[in-house]
């Protein structure tokens, strides 16, 4: 995966203008077809999620019994109006996948926005202040992350009841540790640099040193974590919805579609297959994009492989 095109032409260490660097990035991306395709796929999912009300061919929550369990259009008995077929209530599978993507992305982005902000903040504090603050925060991180996230999420939902916002709360509660670890490790490597020392020497207040000097310099590895976490959260949302503790009907979610379609697995393979492909491809492409972001933002990483 890390097999980049040779780095000899890029001059990774030569000072380059921002414009040149962007052009180089694009050229590398163009050569790396797998990453290019995954990036396009992620953009497609984001676009279709945003434009769901416009591009969705049917209402995702309304169906008619006369159209129930129609196979995809290329299979015998298929109806060209329903490209990926219909479900047990006659609802269009493609439309439900498009609307489901909206839910998955919302959950992914909101969770990572909150847990990322919280975790990064705690990681910054932990790494910058060290001593007992560091020990305390990192012990909490250790304890909480030694625990399987699925069980914690289920416990949350058991107490709060199922639903999208409760699920977001549960997954957020569970997702901050990785950001804290990441931010802390980055701060530790920044803390002793001359730049930070200089900032302190001229009397910058702690908050300014942390957010004005350290944070902007460690943002790139953090971004990679954010992208990979969105992928992980989308998987977790799908699992929880599949089990019946996430998104509730009649709302549409990929995991929920699989859970509902499971009963009809003998007659209607498409109900389980297509939403699953959507989940798998989205998570896979987000991972590939995450890896790409890492190599692009970190020139050292690029030449190492």
């Amino acid at each position: 995966m890390m097999q980049r095109a040779s780095a000899k032409s890029t001059g990774a260490y030569a000072p380059a203008s921002a414009k040149n660097r962007a052009a180089e990035s694009l050229r590398r991306l163009w050569k790396d077809k797998v990453t290019l395709v995954s990036l396009l796929f992620v953009l497609l999912v984001i676009f279709s999620a945003l434009a769901a009300p416009v591009i969705s061919p049917h209402d995702p929550t309304k169906g008619s019994i006369t159209n129930r369990l129609k196979p995809p259009f290329w299979v015998e008995g298929g109806d060209p109006r329903f490209i990926l077929g219909t479900d047990q209530q006659g609802r269009d599978v493609l439309s439900r996948i498009i609307w489901g993507g909206r839910v998955s992305l919302t959950v992914g982005f909101v969770c990572v926005a909150i847990s990322g902000a919280f975790g990064t903040l705690l990681g910054l504090i932990s790494g910058y202040f060290g001593k007992w603050v560091d020990t305390l925060i990192m012990r909490i991180v250790d304890i909480q992350s030694s625990f399987p996230g699925l069980l914690v999420a289920l416990t949350f939902v058991m107490v709060l009841g199922p639903g999208m916002w409760n699920l977001i709360a549960a997954l957020t509660f569970n997702g901050w540790m990785v950001h804290a670890r990441m931010a802390r490790s980055q701060v530790l490597s920044m803390r002793e640099t001359t730049m930070v020392e200089a900032a302190r020497a001229i009397g910058c207040p702690t908050s300014r040193t942390l957010f004005g000097h350290i944070f902007p310099n460690i943002i790139s590895p953090l971004i990679t974590t954010y992208v990979l976490e969105i992928a992980r959260i989308i998987g977790a949302e799908a699992t929880m919805s599949f089990l019946g503790y996430g998104i509730q009907p009649p709302q549409s979610s990929w995991g929920l579609m699989i859970g509902e379609g499971r009963v009809y697995i003998a007659q209607a393979w498409w109900l389980v297959t297509f939403p699953g492909v959507a989940i798998a491809l989205t998570i896979l492409c987000l991972n590939l994009v995450g890896n790409w972001v890492r190599t692009e933002l970190d020139p050292l990483h690029r030449t190492r492989h």
């Binding site: 097999q3 069980l151 416990t155 389980v272």
Partner: protein, 305 residues
């Protein structure tokens, strides 16, 4: 060595207590189980009666004290759902999960370790790229969906195996396969990465230069040094898998293990049973972590505890 183990065991106890307390706090402070257990139109009297029956009307500190003293005696009370000692119910379900998880890891290891070594031996080759891509895909695909796809093809279409249930080999093949996909991908990734890391080191060049045959270089030198990283991954993943991550797959195949017990617990909002589940999970996770750390000494004589 003894000192190290004692210290670590003390830390394990701390984690187990910490996690149990965390769940106690979540279940008792975040919401009221009575709200979810009773229908919406329940009267105040019915609510008070149920609260009294479950002991939830007592002061929180009294409940906490009772919970802690129960924790010390390994007594979590009777399950609300099954009216039997909670811990006994959990332990009764463990063997099925052990069976499922151990077989999955055996399958995963037998396939992934050789593939990881081969990929690391030919870095950048087509085979390496295919294996790397396959490993990433394996990690990204949701397990419950893999399970359902296996059911569609091998149980519904071909009729080789049973769709669900427990007992014979024909019941076991599909859940074991479904559960082995993620560890297979993870093990292959780590195996490749740490093997590649070792193969680039100077002692390998030395070993080759002094005329050792390639087999000895790879298996006696490189593999032995690459092993600890792989063992950590297997250990941690094994612990998490035993500790409830197997639930979606157990749910798909109606496997009567710990994973499906967790889902039952959540469905019945059974606090004592949940506490017992969490306790067992915490023990498994911490013990596996400890054993993993101790196993390093077997591979690296420099490590002394």
């Amino acid at each position: 060595m003894l000192r190290y183990v004692t210290l670590r065991l003390g830390y394990c106890v701390l984690v187990i207590i910490g996690v149990s307390l965390l769940v106690f706090v979540i279940t008792h402070l975040v919401g009221n189980p009575v709200d979810i257990m009773l229908p919406l139109q329940a009267t105040e009297e019915e609510r008070a009666q149920l609260e009294h029956q479950l002991g939830l009307d007592r002061p929180l500190l009294v409940q906490l004290k009772e919970f802690m003293s129960g924790l010390v005696r390994l007594d979590f009370g009777l399950s609300w759902w099954q009216k039997e000692p909670a811990l006994a119910i959990v332990l009764e379900r463990m063997p099925a999960t052990f069976q499922l998880v151990l077989w999955s890891f055996l399958v995963a290891g037998v396939i992934a370790i050789p593939l990881g070594i081969i990929a690391a031996y030919h870095p950048g080759s087509t085979l390496d790229r295919i294996l790397t891509a396959a490993a990433l895909t394996g990690i990204c695909v949701p397990t419950f969906w893999v399970g359902l796809m296996l059911v569609t093809v091998f149980a519904v279409r071909l009729g080789w195996f049973y769709t669900s249930g427990y007992g014979t080999v024909r019941h076991m093949v599909l859940p074991v396969l479904a559960l082995s996909i993620v560890p297979m991908g993870r093990i292959a990734q780590i195996m490749r990465f740490s093997m590649l890391d070792q193969l680039n080191k100077q002692y390998i060049t030395t070993a080759r230069a002094k005329g050792l045959d390639e087999k000895t270089v790879i298996f006696k030198h490189a593999l032995k040094n690459a092993a600890p990283a792989v063992i950590t991954t297997i250990g941690v993943d094994l612990g998490r898998m035993l500790a409830g991550i197997s639930s979606p797959v157990e749910h798909v195949f109606a496997w009567p293990g710990f994973g499906s017990l967790i889902l039952d617990t959540i469905q019945h909002q059974d606090f004592p049973l949940l506490q017992a589940c969490v306790f067992v999970v915490a023990i498994i996770v911490t013990m596996i972590n400890l054993l993993t750390d101790l196993s390093y000494g077997l591979f690296d004589p420099r490590i002394k505890y």
